[in-house]
Amino acid sequence: MATRSFAWAEGPAAVLWKDLQAEYRTRYAVNAVVVFAVTTLAVVSFCAQAAAAGPELLSPLLWLILLFSAMSGLSRTFVREEETKTANALRLSADPNTVYLGKLTFNALLLGLLDLIVVPLYIVMMDVRVGNPALFVAILIAGSLGLVSASTLVAAIVAKASVRGALFSVLSFPILIPVLVAAVQGTEAALRGVPWAQVSPTLKVLVMFTVVMVTAGLWLFEHVWYEA
């Protein structure tokens, strides 16, 4: 039994591996997302040079950069399937849950990569002092997972629509408001060095949101996926 306990993950892992390989060949999403984020960061840092920004400003700016970068790149995984006409082949070869989990993991890795590149750069360029580093990292991870879980499903919804780029942002933003509010508040608290106990409700909200979105996604994705 022990050898088969992760059998459910084989399908999503295959989808993930396929996406990673396709991404590696063109590096389109990675380039778009990372370059966008770094450019935005440069603009923000340049424009805010003289301002002595405290945590109440640094926290929302960071999440704005992450949000807009996510909006520019996270829909890529589904749109590419439609553009290269491989979507129908994928519909035939894997069941919806497998595809959903695989794409979700891909987006999570993409945003994780973005976090790894942008956040240290942000700390250096904006001269950020992090009061509670462990909490900062925890909020960053929880917030990113929340972002990804909602965005992946919206990306699937938008892949079939006509005005994809703008519509993706328009649809995602209201859904992401709880994540943004909680993440910005939590990051501000982490920058100020507030202890864990006081910020744990915010972390709980982020985790709850992710769980709810992934569950909803597992049910809804099938209906959206087969609208060919």
């Binding site: 499903l153 919206v154 079939k160 649809l171 408001i177 409700p201 709850m208 959206v224």
Partner: protein, 229 residues
């Protein structure tokens, strides 16, 4: 036979006001008169008559939202286009009442605290609801094909419904808000509670009336489309 009976019941007929319509009309007229002539002012707050419009609008917007989400979920299960019509009709009503709730809330905020909009958690919630509704309609207009539009927008409606508890319940409780919490503390005059209940009932009647009208229009459109095909 069953189909013929169903069609006879829902055929397009000249409209005559029924109990719901007449009752709602009289009720709301009475409610408006009572709100301005009978109900007392709340201590420390100005312009409290707007409460009797703001609270029912917000309530109706939430109900419409829930209804839209439930009909959307039912559509995804059963794939009957009438359910999608009802989901869209509920969303339209929700949009209307959400806009009204936002505006009345802003007017009240301006009169009492000087600022019409300051991203207070409750204001954030109602703005987020408004954006969700607008996004839903933007999505509907960007999709082609009746079944595809119905299925994809239903998926979004369910997602929005799932996010709503976070916006309505988690956010305002997690952070400080200026929004009056009198209902929870129970420190309100009985007349005001009565007025709020009365106005909520009246607006619910109004909402039900508008919903029925809108669904009847949607049903007629659907029937026409089926005839053409």
């Amino acid at each position: 036979m069953q189909q013929a009976e169903k069609e006879a019941k829902t055929a397009v007929r000249p409209w005559r006001p029924g109990w719901l319509e007449v009752g709602t009309g009289i009720w709301i007229t009475g409610m408006v008169l009572a709100a301005f002539l009978w109900a007392p002012e709340v201590r420390n707050l100005k312009g409290t008559q707007i409460l009797y419009f703001h609270v029912p609008c917000a309530w109706l917007a939430s109900i419409a939202f829930l209804g839209s989400g439930v009909y959307a979920g039912l559509y995804l299960r059963r794939r009957e286009l009438m359910l999608d019509v009802k989901s869209a009709a509920a969303a339209e009503l929700g949009l209307l009442f959400c806009t009204l709730a936002t505006i009345t809330g802003a007017v009240f905020a301006k009169a009492n605290w000087g600022m019409a909009w300051n991203w207070d958690p409750r204001q954030t919630t109602i703005a987020a609801l408004l954006m969700l509704y607008l996004a839903y309609f933007a999505l509907r207009s960007a999709l082609a094909g009746t079944e595809r539009r119905a299925a994809v927008s239903s998926a979004y409606a369910v997602m929005a419904c799932v996010v709503m508890p976070f916006l309505v319940y988690v956010l305002p409780r997690a952070f400080e808000t200026l929004h009056p919490t009198v209902v929870r503390r129970g420190g309100m005059d009985p007349e005001i509670i009565v007025m709020l209940a009365v106005s909520t009932v009246g607006f619910t009647g109004l909402g039900a009336w508008m919903f029925r009208l809108r669904v009847a229009v949607g049903r007629a459109v659907l029937r026409r489309m089926e005839e053409l095909v």
